[in-house]
């Protein structure tokens, strides 16, 4: 490598470090402010305590919103994985010229600004007199994550050998049996990854949720409301805990992916 190349390499490394630091700054501040308080812009170093975390269980409102978010997340996962699998399988096996158009539509809610997806569903629900609720949020989330779930499952389906299913039929399996005993186990991993990803995205999804939620609150909505009042240590504490949860989920996904890739190498 030439000197100039070395020089640019170091600059890029430093830039990477700075950017990682910048991205994590809000996160660290959140964790920090869950332990400490500020007074008139200065940190009160005496205010350290674990209390926000221990008292969290008693904060009914926060817990309720968390429960709602988890409910929405789980139902979203179920719906999006089922529908996403159906579409992925369809796309993979179909020779119809329409499938490209179908794929484009599936991707629309994800590619367009979330405000549009949220608004269109909001208006639609009003016109058909469907009251807003947690379930309308589920519908919104499902449509939103469908594109990702679809793509993940489709990628996996396309790497499977066609002879796999063919041999199942050859040995006498019905369509359902082939699906249940052969196809499903072989795409298990991608279903799990897609599901975990869908859950993680749904947990934090704010923009669409703001439009579609009724009187219940989910976690991001709770934060949105609290934000007006100002954040207490407790809110920061709960955010930190959720952050740990989502980081764990992301690391889990990464772990699954790397382990499955190692298997393929053998």
């Amino acid at each position: 490598m030439t000197k100039l190349e070395n020089y640019t390499k170091y600059i890029m490394a430093i830039l990477t470090g700075l950017i990682v630091a910048a991205l994590y700054a809000p996160i660290f501040l959140t964790i920090f402010y869950s332990f400490y308080k500020t007074r008139k812009g200065k940190v009160d170093w005496n205010s350290f305590s674990y209390e926000p975390y221990t008292k969290l269980i008693f904060e009914k409102q926060i817990l309720e919103s968390l429960m709602n978010s988890i409910y929405v997340g789980i139902v979203t996962v179920i719906c999006s994985v089922v529908i996403g699998f159906y579409f992925a399988n369809y796309y993979h096996t179909s020779k119809s010229k329409m499938k490209e158009f179908l794929q484009f539509i599936i991707f629309l809610p994800f590619l367009l600004p979330p405000i549009i997806t949220g608004l269109s569903l909001l208006i639609f629900f009003r016109e058909i007199n469907l009251p807003r609720s947690l379930n309308t949020v589920v519908i919104g989330h499902t449509i939103f994550v469908l594109a990702i779930v679809f793509k993940i499952i489709l990628n996996k389906l396309e790497t499977l050998k066609p002879s796999l299913m063919e041999s199942a039929y050859d040995l006498g399996a019905s369509k359902f049996q082939a699906f249940w005993y052969v196809l499903l186990p072989n795409i298990k991993l991608s279903l799990i990854i897609a599901g975990l990803l869908a859950f993680t995205i749904s947990l934090d999804e704010t923009l669409i949720t703001l439009f579609l939620i009724g009187n219940d609150t989910t976690w991001p909505i709770k934060l949105w409301a609290k934000m007006r009042v100002g954040f207490s240590k407790q809110v920061n504490a709960s955010v930190t805990l959720i952050l740990i949860l989502t980081s764990f989920l992301v690391l889990l996904i990464a772990n699954i992916i790397s382990r499955s890739e190692k298997k393929i190498m053998y």
Partner: protein, 283 residues
């Protein structure tokens, strides 16, 4: 019936897929678009076709102005993300070999952190007594804290960059990483100095990923309405905020829908254009 199906090379399943997708995605979009042609009377919505809303958009200067301003804002965010994100993606793809996935993971995790909290915390970073001012003071670069960073358009830009950077780094990294090592070696072998190898081989092949990431960042920045509410103050507001306010207290859903429709059309055009351009460069 069977002949019709065969002609279009479709099946019952295709029809079912269509119905599902149309009812979940297309009909809401259609009703949303149709709303933009309605008007409001007090708290009632008049379901009659009218171009009133669109006229308002073009006549009332503020709407077009904000829209154009927001486009420039989104472009600014996009370019800053490219400027900062490309070197990071390049560094990870080319030089970081052992650590690249670990660092990539570190860049992905903040994406899953609560959106609202991230923005809210930017206040503590950008504000009068915030982190940046404290650091600048510590380094001796300033005497008094700057008001440059918060409660204005700059804050919106900076915050959006912090939120959206990983979204440009990931696809850029992916397409740069895919470049086989021996293609780079071949370019050296044929006499390229390092910068020439970048200019003629690495950059062109890695371009599609960069474009995907850039467009994604642009569209998300264009439609964002939370950031200006939290850090924008009075001077930093976006088109998205105006749309949102029409669904809040102003309760003029049709008008909001019209404003959003314009956003929709612009977004769709950009997506299709990008799609067309990247497909053309591939063949």
């Amino acid at each position: 019936m069977r002949e019709v199906l065969n002609y279009f090379n479709t099946s019952v399943w295709t029809i079912i897929s269509f119905i599902l997708v149309i009812s979940l995605i297309l009909i809401p979009l259609a009703s949303f678009l149709s709303y933009s042609f309605f008007t409001v009377d007090g708290t009632d919505i008049i379901h009659e076709f009218s171009l009133f809303n669109y006229k308002e958009f073009f006549i009332g200067e503020i709407y077009i102005n904000t829209f154009v301003r927001t486009i420039f804002l989104a472009l600014t965010v996009m370019f800053i993300c490219i400027l900062l994100g490309y070197p990071v993606a390049y560094f990870l793809a080319r030089y970081a070999s052992r650590y690249k996935y670990a660092i990539l993971l570190m860049l992905i995790i903040p994406l899953f952190m609560s959106y609202i909290i991230k923005i809210y915390m930017m206040r503590s970073i950008l504000g009068y007594s915030g982190l940046i001012n404290k650091i600048l003071k510590m380094l001796g670069l300033i005497d008094k804290p700057l008001e440059f960073f918060l409660w204005n358009q700059n804050a919106v830009i900076i915050t959006l960059v912090v939120i959206l950077l990983p979204l440009i780094i990931i696809p850029t990294f992916t397409s740069l990483e895919k470049i086989p090592r021996n293609i780079i070696e071949a370019s050296f072998d044929l006499g390229c100095k390092p910068f020439q190898a970048f200019k003629y081989v690495i950059f062109p092949i890695g371009l599609p990923g960069l474009i995907v990431g850039s467009i994604f960042v642009f569209i998300l920045a264009l439609g964002d309405f939370v950031t200006p509410q939290l850090v924008g103050g009075t001077s930093g507001f976006t088109y998205g905020k105006i749309i949102y306010s029409n669904f809040g207290m102003a309760f003029n859903w049709p008008f909001g829908a019209a404003l959003a429709s314009i956003l929709l059309i612009v977004s769709v055009i950009i997506i299709l254009l990008t799609n067309y351009l990247t497909n053309r460069s591939k063949s």
